[in-house]
Symmetry: C2
Subunit: 212 residues, 2 copies
């Protein structure tokens, strides 16, 4: 069982690490971080690099693929090397998954056509252009395609998929070992719960920047 | 404002990334990953390396220091180079923080003597040997020392400290952008909530392995 985590310039680190430290604990699984070119790949903030140990051409038949998001998905959505790789590995995966705007890469590769899917709340509507049906759920299963909402939702996706792949006992064990008993200090984690003016401000920033 | 995240061999990645993608979004802050020797540092599972851009000798006056944990804290607890660095930078930090067993490194450096602190639930009692008072809370403030419970608790710590350092509005903004509206698929994230036999099994593994 091989799990491949895709890295690309300016990905969001928690998008990748949430599933890595949950689903990646799947007993017997080999996890490999891959990118177009092997080596250090910088996060969105630029202050950290994760190392992709393998290039895309070295990882051709992963059982599970995880695609993290980032604030500038349009760059990889226009990268034929990445989209070709996603289509190629998807042909034989057991699960094809994404966190945050990673679903837009899957969608741009043509993998979510006619499927229910989610993304970061600021990008959710963009799924429609690729024939996907956006939903406001935190973790969405449609066949073998599993998409998670923004950033931290990858932890919930990782544990949920771990339960499906290895059973509830394994998933509960990982939840307890990662002490995932969340106690957010605020209740502003979704556009439905956050102050309306904050949501509007972020939507405005997003529109004016053309990115987030 | 400089935030230093300490890396060392076999750290747990989510311990570092939880605070990085929350507190690390502090406006105007520079985040730097540091380790005894700059370069790639492997996680506990070995399947991923994060890059420490700086050596300890290059980061001498961070405003905030973040110490992640890992399943084998005893190695760095006996590393005088790391402990000396922690003592040295602590002399001028605004906040000295840890996630998971990172608190045992702070404790071994003598920084938690007489202070309330937390750690991963399996390691909590070990704080006593260093004069600290263990508590079962998820995020513990004692003066400028902030310790978080196991692994995922670093997200709650990051947001809480972000609120203290930059105000509630900034912290809520980061919570919304990271869509931190957790919906764990199980309710087994603490020893008080998980099935008793699972807790006992993990305590047994911990005892028999002498580590976790």
């Amino acid at each position: 069982m091989q799990i491949a985590v895709l890295l690309y310039d300016r990905f969001t680190s928690l998008d990748a690490i949430g599933p890595y430290d949950t689903l990646g604990r799947l007993p017997g699984a080999e996890v490999v971080f891959v990118s177009q070119r092997p080596g250090p790949v910088r996060t969105d903030a630029g202050s950290l690099a994760l190392v992709a140990d393998k290039g895309l051409d070295e990882v051709t038949r992963p059982d599970i693929v995880i695609v993290p998001g980032g604030p500038h998905p349009e760059i990889e959505m226009a990268n034929p090397v990445v989209l070709d790789w996603l289509r190629s590995v998807d042909a034989t995966t057991t699960w094809t998954t994404s966190v945050c705007t990673g679903s837009l890469l899957l969608a741009a590769a043509g993998l979510l056509d006619g499927r229910r899917a989610t993304s970061h709340w600021l990008f959710l509507d963009r799924l429609r252009a690729f024939g996907a049906e956006p939903t406001g759920e935190r973790v969405v299963f449609d066949g073998k395609y599993v998409t998670a909402a923004g950033v931290s939702a990858g932890i919930d996706m990782g544990l949920t998929l771990l339960g499906r792949a290895a059973g509830d006992d394994v998933a509960r064990t990982v939840q307890l070992m990662t002490e995932y008993d969340p106690q957010p200090p605020y209740d502003a984690g979704s556009p439905a719960k956050a102050p309306a003016e904050l949501v509007a401000r972020l939507r405005g920033v997003s529109l004016s920047e053309g990115s987030r």
